[in-house]
Amino acid sequence: MTNWMHHLLILPILIPLMVGAAMIPIDERNRMMKGVMGFVSTLALFVLSMVLMRIASVDGAAAGSGVYQLGNWPAPFGIVLVLDRLSALMLCLTSGLALAAQAYSIARWHTAGHHFHSLFQLLIAGLNGSFLTGDLFNLFVFFEMMLAASYGLLLHGSGPLRVKAGLHYVAINLAASSLFLIGVSLIYGATGTLNMADLSMKLATLSPDDRQMVEVGAGVLGVAFLVKAGMWPLSFWLPTAYSAATPPVAAVFAILTKVGIYVILRLSLLVFGASAGASAGFGQPILLAGGLLTIAFGAIGVLASQAMGRLAAYSVLVSSGTLLAAIGLGHPGMIAGALFYLVSSTLTIAAFFLLIELVERGRDAGADVLAVTMEAYGDADEDEEEEVVGAAIPGTMAILGLCFCLCALLLSGLPPLSGFVAKFAILGGLFGLSGTEAARAISTADWTYVTLLIISGLAAMIAMNRVGIRTFWASIENTVPRVVVIEITPVIVLLATCIFLSVQAGPAMRYMQATADSLFDPTSYTERVLMAPRAGG
């Protein structure tokens, strides 16, 4: 790697941080300028993450490749940023999603409050930092940065509903942050290190007392991430918060739960992998049980939801549960499928959140009288007053309906789209169809997982059918929503990415498989980080 390319690794954090900060002094009246700045920044990030993905997938296990030493201190002492296939994948997903949400917001939602685009950039900076960092405490800092921006974004648009949801969201996340700190400090107290790679090396050599303390710390830490990931019973805040958020915010929040999943996946395979001695596989039974319960809870929630926003929020839970249980089962063959599912479900849910508002806009327009009455009681959604800018699209209902059908197919995991491919890959890995591992007995837990995964798909299909019929066929108000090009394009692009993923499932799955293989080989990661030479030295 040449010298300048080495610095590419810090750009995903620096660009949004600086653009976000630069936008703050710009007057809110120049909103469109801010929007364009933000969009260009996110676009740059998207290109950058593609480049990083290439670097991550081409490079071998040479020491120091993809490791960025902040302050040029070698790994266990200084903080490092680490790029591997998993973090590159998450960076790419984040910037792609952010791009869509940001384009969507320019049509009207960014006018609903102040500093939308700054907060959005800071959220991306926090997300990218969380994915790149190789240090536990640094992870906390980026996590808080991401959360602080997400509080602002959740409250964006204001109104009693959002403030109430925001209050609960802030409170629960502050409590979870306390747990995060307790967990990190317990781990530091026992091992004397905060570097993830170093931690993974040290765990096997610890005395039983210290190992127990690390396990307690990891457990407490895990709770903090599981709150974020939305594992039942830590997920009661999630549906309300997500359905109260403005659509572009909800869309980008779809990846916030995945941060929790990412950290759990990374730590459980890196620190508590096969090399961890007596601690190997720590917490997996809990992840499995919690994941299964989350799928069940999410599926029930999906069936019970009347409003589409809540349906989407419960779909987030189903997706989280599926991933957590897959990590809990921990069969190497499944993780590749799970990663594919992570990408596909995040894109789908984000597209669905964006689509919901477009579809419901038509229904709100017919309920003007009701809205007036509601306003008297302070319940009205004040953002509905905002004018939509831009050219409207023709054949609105046809396009919206088609997008809705695609979302339904993707959410329920029916062929031929990527939702199906993802679930098939997970189940294929579970039954050992990939042929990479020796045949083994299928346990009760495996069967429960298979059953729940299929039932959750059925539940999603029933719920989507019901909502679709009510909205598109049996709608008594015959008003057609006014949808502008810039709003529908992000939805179509997100769904098209899912279709692209289904067509190009082969190459995509190969990347995921390589990612999963590298995750199950923590020594290559630790060696890369700990043996990294100092720059200029």
């Binding site: 405490f137 906390f140 800092v141 808080e144 602080a148 509080y151 409250l155 204001s158 109104g159 009693p160 403030v163 109430k164 925001g166 209050l167 609960h168 802030v170 409170a171 502050l174 409590a175 942050s177 306390s178 700190l181 307790i182 990190v184 400090s185 317990l186 530091y188 107290g189 905060l194 302070g378």
Partner: protein, 115 residues
């Protein structure tokens, strides 16, 4: 000293959790503050309790490591204090907004009925 510190952390945590579960937003914010104090003390304690031991090297020599206390937890505490303080301020704003919108300081935005 160990007993005093652990008792302090315990009492702060217990009071914090109790207040966190109360229905008034002001109680929740005080509870979160107490909880963050407890966590800060806890992080500090994880560097092992030492008195009369500086966390930084003196100029002109490395010296004996046993004469120094672990500087990392102190740096962590500093970061945690700053972040915790900012978050409390932010929560305070949300609390006021909620009070303004709903006219009550109940966390659910409406009073519970007791009839």
């Amino acid at each position: 000293m160990e007993i005093i510190l652990s008792a302090a952390i315990g009492v702060l945590t217990a009071s914090g959790v109790y207040l966190l579960l109360r229905p008034r937003t002001y109680q929740v914010i005080i509870g979160l503050s107490l909880l963050s104090y407890a966590v800060n003390l806890f992080i500090f304690g994880m560097g092992r309790l030492r008195v009369n031991a500086p966390p930084v090297l003196e100029p002109g020599g490395v010296g004996d490591l046993s004469r120094f206390t672990d500087p990392v937890p102190q740096a962590l505490v500093l970061t945690a204090i700053v972040i915790g303080f900012a978050m409390t301020a932010l929560f305070l704003v949300v609390l006021l907004a909620s009070r303004g919108f709903t006219g009550t300081d109940h966390v659910d935005g409406r009073e519970q009925r007791h009839d």
